[in-house]
Amino acid sequence: MIIVHPLLGPRDAQEFTYLGDASLIHRPDPKADDAAENFYEYLYQRDNLAGEHRELWFHEQGDRSWLVIKRNTLTHDILSVELASDVARREGRSK
C-alpha cells in the first residue's frame, strides 16, 4: 500500500505502524461516573467496519507523525490522510 502523507507525499505503507480505529483518539473522561464502562468500551469494543474505516497509523520510520487515514477495508482504497493531531484538535481534544 502507499500512504500519501500530508507533509511528505507518497510513502510505502511499510514505513508505518498500524494501531487501529481512530476512535482511540477519544480517551474517555476518567472523572465521569461511568468511567469504567466508558474505558471498557473505548479500549475493547470495535465497530470493525467492512467499508470506510478511520484508523490510526504511525510514521515510525519517517517523521513520527500519527495519521488518521480513511481507508476502505474491502478494497484498501485510501480516501483521505490527515495528521492525527489536526483531527484530534478538530474533534475537541486539547491538553
Binding site: 502507499i2 482511540l24 472523572k31 469504567a36 500519527w66 495528521l83 484530534a88 491538553k95
Partner: protein
C-alpha cells in the same frame, strides 16, 4: 544421438551447438533452445511421471504453463527442482534430471498406481486408511508422502545471491507480444516512463512462434525493429526474463527477473532480482494460453497443445512428431496442419470437432503410436496436436479479487470491467482479441489511453498491417463414449471422471471441486486445466459456465523462488545489527555477545583460565560488589522530553507523580498500558523546568516512544511538549560498586562536585569529563551498589570506556556484561523483561502503592478492574532453595511451576512459577524471582519448584525479592 527431429528455420543459433545431459545421457541442442525444444529436437518423448499414477508424461506446452515437463536442473546445492523444461534456456554442460520416478524414468515401480487407478478415484484417501488408527502415521502416511511430491531439494543452503529493487514508472506494460509492444511504443513515443516486462528471454510473445507477416515483412523482423526503437528510448526500460507475478494495492506490482539461470558459468551476479514496481498505470498484454480437450488417454507423451507444436517448429526448428494428428474445435486447426506440412511433417489426420463426430482413443503408453476411432479405423501418429481454444491470461486481474466474465463467442473468460481497477488496462489476446491485427490495434489504443490519462498527448501512429482472420470456435470440451480416462489436470492426475464423481458426491461448487479433486492446484495453478474442468462440471450439472462459477487466481502468476522473496536477508544478514559505540572495545576484551533485539550486547567477559561462563559471571559480580564494575547500558531507550508541559505530560504517563520532581533529580517510574497492565519501567531525570530525559528498557524503547507520541499527538494535542528518541545519540555506562565514586572522580572535571553530599542518591546533572567532554551523570543503581550512569555523546563512547577502564585499574575495575547485570538485579529483586511480561500489574510486581490516587494516568481506570486486583493473584516474591549443601541439585529452573508439598503435579495445584533465576555468588546460593498466589502473605513458607521438562523438583523457601541490602543502604553511601 543426433538431433533427429531438428528441421530448418527457427530463431536458434545453429553456429553454437550446446551439449547437455538428461538423466545422465548426453544430448546436443543449440543456443536459443529451451531444454524442451532441445529434447524434442532429439526425439525424446518421455520426460516425466505424473503425480499420483506415475503415468509416463511428455512435453505438453511451450511456455510457463507447462504441467508435465518438470525437471531438476543443476547439481549439488544449485540443483533446482520442478523447473519447467519449456522455459529453461539451454546452456553448455547443463545437467537435467527427470523427477518423481524410481528407479528410473523408463521403469518406475510406482507406476503400479496406474493399474490401481480404478480404486484410487477422486478423494479415495478420505474414505480409507483409518484402521487401525495408529497405522496412519506409521504406515499409510509415510508411503503416501514418499510417493507424493515432485522434485527433491538438495538439503543444502542455497549458495546464490539474491537482490531486491524498487522501480517507478508511468506505465507498466506486462507482456511484450504484439499488443504489449504497441502499447510501449505509443507510451514511449509520448515521453512516458515505460517499463515493458516479459517472462520470455526474447521479446515478441506469440509473434516468435507464428509465421505471420506484419507490414509485409516477417513478424520477427517487425518485432526486432520495434524492440530496437524501444531500446533506444531513454524513458523505456525493457525487462526480459521478468515475470510480473502479482498485483498489490495502490499500483504496486511484484516482478522477478531471472538473471543467471541461463548462464553456463554462474557469476557473482544475483541469481534473481525481486522488484517492487510502483506504476501509475499498467496495461496487461499477457496474451492467452491454449487449452486441451478431454480425450481418452490425452496425457500420453506426444499429446501436445497445437500452439506448442507450432512454436517448436517455427521458433526452434524442432518437430514434435513426424506423423501428426491435429485435433481442434476452432479455426486454428488448419493453421497447425499447414505449418507442420511446411516443416516437413506428415499430417496423418485433421480432426475438426466442429465437423466430425467420430470418437477415438489414443494408443501408446510411453509415446503416442496411433489413434483408433470407435469404428475400428486406426491412424498412426507420434504426436497429437490439440487445440481446445484459448484462455486469455487474466490471472493478474484477479489478484485483487476481481471476478472475470465469460464470453460465449470465444468460449473463454476475459477480464470484467469490475475486475480491472481504474489504473489497469488490458489489450490483445489477454482481452480475448486473438488476431494479430486486433492485438496491435488494442495495444495502440491502450497506449493512447494511458498517455491521455497521464495528461500527455499521444502522436498518431500508423497501425501496422497484419492478419485479421476471425477466430471461430464451437466449444467442445470432452469426447464422450471412449474407454480410457480423459485427463483434465495432467500434473495432479485429475480426470473427467473424477470431476463427475466429485459432483456426484456433492462437491458441486467449483471451490469444493477444486479442493476435493485437487484440480488446478498443480504447479501450473490451473493454467492447463481450470477452464476445461469447469466446463466439464458445468456440462455434467447441465448448467452454463457462468452459472457454475470460476475460481479466481492468486499470486504468484508463476512460481517464484522463496530465496527471491528473501533477497539478501539471510544468514547473518537476516536482520540488521545494532552495535554500541564501545562494541569494538568489548570485542577486544574477548566479550561474548548476545542479541537483545537487534542490539549486540556484551554478555560476559571471560578471562584466560575460565572454563565456564558461570566462573566469569561470578567473578564479575563479586568484583563489582567488592570494588567496582563497568557495564555498557547504551541500549536502554533514551527519550528527550522538552516543553512547558513536559512535567504534566509525564505525570499522565507514569503511575507515580512526576510534575514535582526537582531539577537535578531522577525518579523511578512505572508506566501502564491503558488496559492497566505494566508496560515498562525506567527512570526520568529532570535537567530543567522544561527538560526531562526518560530511559526505557532496551526491549521496549520503540514501543514506548510510539506510545508517548500517541499520547502527545492524539490524546493531548495542545500540550506544549516535544519528544525525540536519543538512544543512538548517547553512549552510557553504569559504574557500580563501593569504589564507583572514587573511580568517577578521576575523570570528572574538577569543577563538578560529585561527592555524596553534592551529588546524592538519585541526583542527575550535566557535567564535563576528561577535560571538557560534555556528559550527563545520573546517580542510579540497578545493581544495588553505589552506582552512577554516565552518558556521553555517542562518538565519545569508545574513548570513555577506555578512559574508565584505565583509571579503574587501581581499583581492579572489571567490565561486566548482561549476565552479571542480570544476577545483580535478581539479587536486588528488580523486575526485568521476564517479570514485565505484559501479563503483570503494578500490584503483582509489588508496586501497588506507587499508583497515585489523586491524578489520572494512562491505565488508571482499567487497572481498577476486578480481575487485576484479585486477592489470590500472583505476586512477585523471592525464592531460595531450602537445602544449600549442593549447588547442583538445588539449581533452580526459570519456568518451573510452584506446587505445594504433597500435592500432585497438576494444573489445579500450580500456584505460580519462577520467572528469573540466578546463582548468587554473594549469597552462595541459587535464588529466584517468581510469581506466587498470595505471594506477599506467604514469606517463610516452603513450596516445590517443579520443572517437569528437565525433571527437577526443588523445595524452596518463599522470601522477600530483595535478597541483598533490602534497606538500600549501599546506594546512599
Amino acid at each position: 544421438m543426433t538431433q533427429t527431429h531438428r528441421v530448418g528455420g527457427g530463431h536458434i543459433d545453429r553456429s553454437q551447438p550446446v551439449e547437455f545431459t538428461f538423466d545422465g545421457k548426453k544430448y546436443q541442442g543449440f543456443s536459443g533452445d529451451t531444454v524442451a525444444s532441445a529434447l524434442i529436437a532429439n526425439g525424446v518423448k518421455l520426460v516425466g511421471r505424473s503425480f499420483k499414477y506415475h503415468r509416463p508424461r511428455g512435453i505438453f506446452s511451450a511456455g510457463s504453463d507447462e504441467p508435465n515437463a518438470l525437471m531438476t536442473i543443476g547439481e549439488g546445492a544449485r540443483a533446482t527442482p520442478n523447473t519447467r523444461a519449456t522455459i529453461a534456456e539451454l546452456y553448455e554442460g547443463m545437467t537435467v534430471q527427470s523427477q518423481n520416478r524410481f528407479p528410473s524414468l523408463n521403469f518406475d515401480v510406482m507406476a503400479v498406481n496406474d493399474l490401481l487407478a480404478p480404486f484410487l478415484s477422486a478423494g479415495f484417501y478420505y474414505k480409507t486408511f483409518m484402521w487401525p488408527a495408529s497405522f496412519w502415521e506409521k504406515l499409510y502416511e509415510p508411503i503416501i508422502r514418499r510417493a507424493a511430491g515432485l522434485g527433491a531439494l538438495s538439503g543444502e543452503p542455497d549458495p546464490d545471491q539474491y537482490d531486491k529493487g524498487f522501480l517507478h514508472c508511468d506505465v507498466l506494460v506486462i507482456g511484450a507480444g504484439s499488443a504489449g509492444l504497441m502499447t510501449a511504443l505509443v507510451a514511449g513515443r509520448a515521453g512516458l516512463r515505460v517499463i515493458l516486462a516479459d517472462e520470455d528471454f526474447q521479446m515478441g510473445g506469440r509473434l516468435l512462434s507464428e509465421l505471420e507477416q506484419i507490414n509485409g515483412d516477417t513478424a520477427l523482423a517487425w518485432t526486432m525493429q520495434i524492440t530496437a526503437e524501444l531500446s533506444s528510448m531513454p524513458n523505456v526500460r525493457l525487462m526480459g526474463r521478468t515475470t510480473v507475478y502479482g498485483v498489490f494495492d495502490h499500483g504496486i506490482y511484484g516482478a522477478v527477473t531471472r538473471n543467471t539461470d541461463h548462464l553456463a558459468v554462474k557469476t557473482k551476479k544475483p541469481r534473481e532480482t525481486l522488484w517492487r514496481i510502483y506504476a501509475k498505470r499498467s496495461v496487461l498484454a499477457s496474451g492467452a494460453t491454449e487449452r486441451s480437450i478431454a480425450l481418452s488417454n490425452n496425457d500420453r507423451p506426444g499429446v501436445m497443445l497445437a500452439s506448442a507444436v507450432r512454436t517448436y517448429a517455427n521458433r526452434f526448428g524442432a518437430l514434435c512428431g513426424k506423423r501428426v494428428v491435429v485435433v481442434s474445435n476452432n479455426s486454428d486447426g488448419l493453421r497447425t496442419a499447414n505449418i507442420l506440412k511446411a516443416s516437413g511433417a506428415e499430417v496423418s489426420a485433421v480432426i475438426d470437432t466442429r465437423l466430425s463426430e467420430n470418437s477415438f482413443d489414443i494408443r501408446g503408453r510411453k509415446a503416442v503410436r496411433a489413434i483408433r476411432f470407435s469404428d475400428g479405423r486406426k491412424v498412426d501418429a507420434d504426436c497429437i496436436a490439440i487445440s481446445g481454444g484459448w484462455n486469455p491470461n487474466i490471472q493478474l486481474t484477479c489478484h485483487k479479487r476481481g471476478r472475470p466474465l465469460w464470453r460465449d463467442d470465444i468460449a473463454a473468460f476475459v477480464p470484467s470491467k469490475d475486475a480491472l481497477t481504474a489504473d489497469m488496462d488490458v489489450a490483445g489476446a489477454a482481452n480475448g482479441s486473438f488476431s494479430t491485427h486486433q492485438c496491435l490495434q488494442e495495444g495502440a489504443q491502450a497506449g493512447a489511453r494511458a498517455v491521455q490519462a497521464l495528461g500527455k498527448n499521444a502522436a498518431a501512429i500508423d497501425l501496422p498491417q497484419a492478419d485479421d482472420a476471425p477466430f471461430e470456435i464451437t466449444p467442445f470440451w470432452e469426447m464422450k463414449g471412449c474407454k480410457g480416462s480423459a485427463w483434465v489436470d495432467p500434473q495432479n492426475d485429475v480426470t473427467a471422471k473424477d470431476i463427475k464423481l466429485a459432483a456426484q458426491e456433492g462437491f458441486k461448487s467449483v471451490e469444493l471441486l477444486k479442493r476435493y479433486t485437487t484440480l488446478g492446484m498443480a504447479t501450473d495453478q490451473g493454467k492447463a486445466s481450470n477452464v476445461l474442468g469447469l466446463a466439464i462440471l458445468a456440462d455434467h450439472l447441465s448448467q452454463t459456465i457462468p452459472e457454475t462459477g470460476t475460481t479466481i487466481s492468486r499470486p504468484p502468476y508463476t512460481p517464484v523462488s522463496i530465496s527471491a522473496f528473501a533477497g539478501a536477508s539471510r544468514f547473518e544478514h537476516f536482520r540488521p545489527v545494532r552495535k554500541t559505540p564501545s562494541h569494538n572495545w568489548a570485542q577486544g576484551q574477548g566479550a561474548v555477545f548476545v542479541s537483545a533485539g537487534l542490539w549486540q550486547r556484551a554478555q560476559y567477559f571471560p578471562r584466560p583460565g575460565e572454563t565456564h561462563w558461570r566462573q566469569t559471571v561470578d567473578r564479575e559480580v563479586v568484583a563489582t560488589r567488592s570494588s567496582v564494575g563497568i557495564c555498557d547500558v547504551t541500549t536502554l531507550g533514551k527519550i528527550d522530553i522538552q516543553g512547558p508541559d513536559a512535567g504534566a505530560f509525564l505525570n499522565r504517563i507514569y503511575v507515580n507523580a512526576f510534575a514535582k520532581l526537582v531539577v537535578g533529580k531522577c525518579r523511578y517510574g512505572l508506566m501502564l498500558r491503558e488496559d492497566g497492565f505494566a508496560m515498562d519501567d525506567g527512570t526520568v531525570a529532570r535537567f530543567s523546568d522544561t527538560h526531562f530525559v526518560m530511559t526505557t528498557t532496551t526491549a521496549n524503547a520503540v514501543s514506548v516512544y510510539r506510545h508517548l507520541e500517541f499520547c502527545r499527538q492524539c490524546l493531548w494535542p495542545n500540550m506544549d511538549v516535544k519528544l525525540i528518541s536519543v538512544t543512538d545519540q548517547w553512549a552510557q555506562y553504569a559504574i557500580a560498586g563501593p569504589n564507583a565514586r572514587k573511580l568517577l572522580q578521576k575523570i570528572v572535571d574538577k569543577e563538578h562536585d560529585v561527592s555524596n553530599e553534592a551529588f546524592s542518591y538519585m541526583a542527575c546533572g550535566e557535567i564535563t569529563v576528561c577535560g571538557g567532554i560534555r556528559a550527563r551523570l545520573f546517580r542510579l543503581s540497578f545493581s544495588g551498589e553505589l552506582a552512577y550512569e554516565l552518558g556521553v555523546p555517542a562518538r565519545y563512547g569508545d574513548s570513555l570506556i577506555k578512559a574508565l577502564m584505565s583509571v579503574g585499574e587501581e581499583f581492579n575495575a572489571v567490565p561486566y556484561g548482561t549476565e552479571a547485570l542480570g544476577v545483580m538485579r535478581i539479587e536486588k529483586g528488580h523486575a526485568a523483561g521476564n517479570e514485565l511480561n505484559g501479563q503483570t500489574t503494578a500490584k503483582h510486581l509489588g508496586m501497588g502503592r506507587m499508583l497515585a490516587k489523586k491524578k489520572d494516568f494512562i491505565g488508571k481506570t482499567l487497572s481498577e478492574r476486578e480481575g487485576l486486583n484479585a486477592e489470590d493473584g500472583l505476586y512477585l516474591v523471592g525464592f531460595k532453595p531450602v537445602s544449600r549443601a549442593d549447588t547442583q541439585t538445588d539449581a533452580l529452573a526459570s519456568g518451573a511451576h510452584l506446587i505445594g508439598q504433597g500435592k500432585s503435579d497438576t494444573a489445579e495445584n500450580s500456584e505460580g512459577y519462577l520467572s528469573s533465576v540466578a546463582y548468587s555468588p554473594s549469597l552462595k546460593s541459587y535464588i529466584g524471582l517468581g510469581f506466587l498466589k498470595r505471594g506477599q502473605e506467604r514469606i517463610g513458607q516452603e513450596i516445590r519448584a517443579v520443572d517437569l521438562l528437565r525433571g527437577t523438583d526443588v523445595l524452596v523457601t518463599v522470601c522477600s525479592a530483595h535478597f541483598i541490602d533490602p534497606k538500600g543502604e549501599r546506594l546512599r553511601v
